[in-house]
């Protein structure tokens, strides 16, 4: 077939991009070459709309071993141990085929981590669905959860945390972001940069089939009515093969034969081979007849663009082929020498003794388009003047019960009970907590991790929202007694060709960057997912932050459940009563406008570090950060976890009690302390200029609030746990 402009456009390339390709090559590409360009130059692989802005991110720090640009980021957790971690989106495929889309998302991110030599030790996920009333939501949720569990459970990696939200902006575009952490010896990390000429290029893992062809291009396009037709572009996962691949790769990595290794993820053999060669400033020659194929008569085009899962590409030292093959034979996996590195600085493909493609690597990688897209700033919305008389009709306890059973607040146990969260025997804090925590096997250390996002705040004011998500992540790590080290981000946005969407992206990134710098909480890996748009409707901007913290002595880990009767409950951080954009305003008062709560980075850092100090001195019995639903929702969640009650003092501040209890001011924590330690705690807080309110005590089972009717903790537990269970069983 002769390639022309229309065929290029059908491949998702723009007219100008096709012209640029012809210009750079000095000829028209053939179909295989065009396929390679379309795979390398799509948004998903080239970051052409985001690169300019991502460059500004704070990616450096004392603990950073590897920042963005590799398969995953790497941080130092002392004693020669390092954590490899990354989050990645699999949004488009999951909407088309929820089970396989989510499953292969989990499989892909795990490969990114073990490609670097790390054994995965924990998985997390952040999943976002349309309104619960939308006819597709229930099946999508069920499929995604089954897919995540199906893959992670079979791999034997615990899924220790996550986040689920519902919002009508996801009706036509759900989000499925998967994150993996792996543990590696810091002197045994593997990278994707190839080195040396005439080194064998090895293909290992599953055979190549026709699945997933053009997956990355599909992920770079908006959806229309015909999305069902795109089902064949979704890959099919086989976690069993991946488990074998994991063990085989780690066994090979224990020796010294690997020069570089790269998993075949988005754009399969194309992007993995080009990336290795590009980083090593080399050429690569592949004989496509040698690639193990699952189906007959596959063309070079199909082989290069297939996104079949569970495959890796390895550049080996000469002479190590036999020993390496033995390992893959043991694990019953394909092993084929399919090519070699060259000094041509080109990718050259052979098939049936013909050269079927020849492209200079730098054209594909460095010369990929970069766009400085136009974007629009979002103004800070006006503050809402709430009529406080309206509050008089409400009762705190009634509002609280309503909030606890809202889809976005209610317990997600129905979901995480379907994930194996205890395999590997080191999970010491399970899902449903501020962070998931796993021990570093055989040591006193533990790693805490959390995923967070707040699309409501980001939509109202992207700059503040971007800052807020980073702070929320930081707080969740502090709350379990860990010192936050670094983050990975998954930036889910609408169509970058629209100024408003692009503006949301630019300003969220700016906010993330500002908070990340101030908190010394660098971004070490991540992924961008644009075009989350169906029929002109985009999602709310949803940057997801995955954070990692270190607990040096896991005996000092903190949990959120209230512990003992008569213990005091304190609010750390100042409460101003910001209810614009709060759960209370949106869901109870039905007021959806207004600015999100302000972020004061100085207080954020100071309050967090002071709470850590209190934990270090063993003065705290339980702690939880204050987020959606304000102070009273936070205390209620602590009570629910600990199966305890609480009694709140009469308010001593001059503020409407609804503003106080339901306001979503940032930088706050609830802590439980023993009465005998009150003065010690107060001194530390005073010395660090941290504000605190003593607001109540822990009780056996009753929730007592001023003159309101007493409620039993079992009522709150019911309010909080029933919603999802009932929704899914209907």
């Amino acid at each position: 077939m002769e390639v022309n402009e229309q065929i290029a456009i059908d491949h998702g390339l723009k007219k100008e991009e096709f012209a640029k390709i012809c210009d750079l090559l000095n000829r028209t590409p053939n179909l295989t070459e065009l396929g390679i360009f379309s795979a390398m130059w799509n948004e998903h692989c080239s970051y052409k709309s985001s690169r300019l802005h991502l460059k500004k991110l704070n990616t450096k720090g004392k603990k950073v071993i590897q920042g963005p640009g590799e398969n995953a980021g790497v941080i130092d957790i002392e004693d020669n141990d390092a954590i490899v971690f990354k989050i990645e989106s699999h949004n488009h495929p999951s909407f088309i085929e929820p089970y396989q889309g989510a499953a292969t998302g989990v499989g892909g991110i795990m490969r990114d981590v073990f490609t670097m030599g790390a054994r995965p030790i924990a998985n997390l996920n952040s999943i976002h669905f349309g309104s619960p009333q939308h006819p597709k939501t229930k099946n999508l949720l069920r499929g995604v959860v089954k897919g995540i569990g199906g893959y992670g459970n079979c791999m034997g990696i615990p899924t220790i945390g996550g986040q689920t939200s519902f919002d009508e902006s996801y009706n036509g575009n759900i989000l499925v972001n998967a994150m993996t952490l792996g543990l590696v010896n810091k002197n045994k990390i593997f990278y994707s940069k190839a080195a040396g000429v005439n080194k064998p290029v090895i293909y290992v893992g599953s055979k190549t089939g026709r699945d997933g062809i053009h997956g990355a291009s599909m992920a770079s396009a908006i959806f229309d009515d015909k999305i069902e037709e795109k089902k064949p572009t979704v890959q099919v996962g086989d976690p069993f093969t991946e488990k074998l691949l994991l063990e085989a790769c780690l066994e090979l990595m224990a020796g010294k034969s690997i020069i570089s290794i790269q998993d075949m993820g988005a754009a399969g053999l194309t992007s993995s081979s080009i990336e290795m060669a590009s980083k090593g400033n080399l050429g690569i020659e592949l004989n496509l007849n040698k690639v193990p194929c699952r189906e007959e008569k596959m063309t070079p085009y199909e082989i290069m663009l297939s996104e079949s899962q569970e495959r890796m590409l390895i550049v080996l030292e000469n002479g190590k082929e036999e020993a390496a093959k033995k390992i893959f034979d043991k694990w019953n996996l394909d092993f084929a020498i399919i090519g070699k590195t060259t000094d041509s600085k080109k990718i050259e493909l052979l098939f049936d003794n013909n050269k079927v493609a020849e492209i200079p690597i730098n054209i594909l990688a460095e010369n990929a388009p970069i766009y400085d897209r136009k974007w629009k700033k979002t103004k800070l919305p006006q503050k809402i003047k709430f009529n406080k008389d309206d509050f008089k009709k409400l009762k705190i306890t009634e509002v609280l019960k309503k909030i606890l059973c809202l889809p976005n607040i209610s317990s997600k146990e129905w979901i995480w009970q379907q994930y194996d969260h205890t395999v590997m025997g080191d999970t010491i804090q399970k899902p449903g907590s501020d962070s998931g925590v796993v021990r570093v096997h055989g040591t006193n250390k533990a790693v805490a991790t959390s995923v967070d996002s707040s699309a409501v705040y980001c939509y109202a004011h992207p700059l503040t929202g971007g800052k807020q998500v980073v702070c929320e992540s930081w707080r969740n790590l502090i709350s379990c007694g860990s010192k936050p080290i670094a983050i990975t981000n998954c930036l889910n946005f609408g169509n970058p060709e629209k100024e408003k969407n692009m503006g949301e992206f630019v300003e969220c990134v700016e906010g993330i960057n500002e908070a990340s710098k101030f908190l010394d909480y660098p971004v070490v890996s991540g992924n961008v997912s644009f075009y989350n748009e169906t029929k002109d409707k985009g999602i709310k901007p949803t940057p997801v932050i995955g954070g990692i913290g270190l607990i040096k002595n896991y005996q000092k880990m903190m949990t959120m459940g209230l512990k003992n009767n008569e213990n005091l409950i304190l609010v750390i951080g100042k409460t101003e009563g910001h209810i614009d954009k709060s759960v209370f305003a949106i869901n109870i008062l039905n007021e959806k406008k207004g600015p999100p709560p302000e972020i004061n980075l100085f207080n954020e850092k100071n309050n967090g570090e002071t709470v850590l100090k209190l934990i270090e001195e063993e003065l705290i019995k339980s702690t939880h950060d204050v987020s959606l639903g304000g102070i009273i929702t936070a205390i209620s969640k602590m009570a629910i976890r600990g199966k305890k009650g609480f009694k709140l003092n009469k308010l001593r501040v001059l503020m409407n009690k609804f503003d106080y209890y339901f306001g979503e001011d940032q930088g706050r924590y609830i802590i439980e302390i023993e009465p005998k330690n009150l003065s010690k705690v107060q001194k530390i807080l005073r010395d660090n200029s941290v504000h605190c309110d003593e607001i109540g005590i822990v009780t056996e089972k009753d929730i007592v609030l001023d003159k309101e009717p007493i409620i039993h903790i079992d009522d709150l537990i019911k309010s909080n746990t029933n919603w999802l269970e009932e929704y899914m069983s209907k």
Binding site: K146, N153, C154, F240, Q417, Q418, Y419, D420, Q555
Partner: protein
């Protein structure tokens, strides 16, 4: 005491079992599924996971694997064989234990702590165990035990029902049955009680930092009985 944990492709609780056995004093060795023989052992363990991807039916391919012949010989000569989760499924597939493990009644994978009651103490696994009700952990999609009426009668007549799901006080009812298992069965013996298959994972609850440490009672007792 020597133990052997068999690793099938797809096993994923092998390391956890190794850690637990060693913690309680076993000299444990890991045996790859392609080994023709198993070294001399006092206990063989079939660990949890997804042997051979659990394709076809959970445990069915492992039940036809090369090494399983040695396991069967060992069991038939009276050796102790413990199958946890996927290991239990393999034992029913080999026919060493009666019945089958079907998909959970709610058709979901389920991961949580459960209480089980020790029903029989005339065996090497539970005699002189210090606690009658153990808080263990389950994580499976196919743990719904089922067998024929005759088989159930025979299990009961010969006290082969090892552990049953219950509440923390030992009350057995549907409410505390996590997967729909017949008669709340969580684990069973063969007639000679040298083979034990159970769905709960004692190896995941062996430390007070974990969700329970009742696995300690199981392993401490087991090694004591073997000495």
């Amino acid at each position: 005491m020597k133990s052997s944990v068999i690793i099938f492709p797809g096993s994923n609780c092998d390391r956890d079992m190794d850690v637990a056995l060693k913690k309680f004093g076993f000299k444990n060795q890991m045996i790859w599924h392609n080994n023709p023989t198993i070294p001399k052992s006092d206990l063989i363990v079939l660990p949890g996971g997804f042997s051979y991807g659990d394709y076809l039916r959970c445990g069915s391919i492992a039940a036809k694997s090369k090494i399983i012949k040695s396991v069967i010989e060992f069991a038939n000569s009276g050796g102790l064989v413990l199958g946890i989760c996927n290991g239990f499924q393999i034992l029913t597939e080999t026919g060493l234990l009666p019945g089958i493990l079907q998909q959970n009644i709610y058709q979901k994978f389920i991961c949580k702590n459960v209480h089980v009651k020790v029903n029989d103490k005339e065996n090497k696994y539970f005699s002189s165990i210090k606690k009658e009700i153990l808080e263990l952990h389950i994580a499976h999609n196919e743990g719904n035990y089922f067998c024929s009426n005759d088989e159930l009668k025979s299990l009961k007549d010969n006290s082969q029902i090892a552990v049953t799901y219950c509440d923390k006080n030992g009350k057995e009812s549907e409410e505390f049955n996590p997967n729909g298992a017949l008669s709340n069965i969580a684990g069973i013996f063969n007639k000679n009680k040298n083979i034990l298959g159970m769905m709960p994972h004692p190896e995941r609850v062996i430390d007070k930092s974990l969700s329970s440490n009742d696995g300690n009672f199981f392993f401490e007792n087991l090694i004591k009985n073997l000495k």
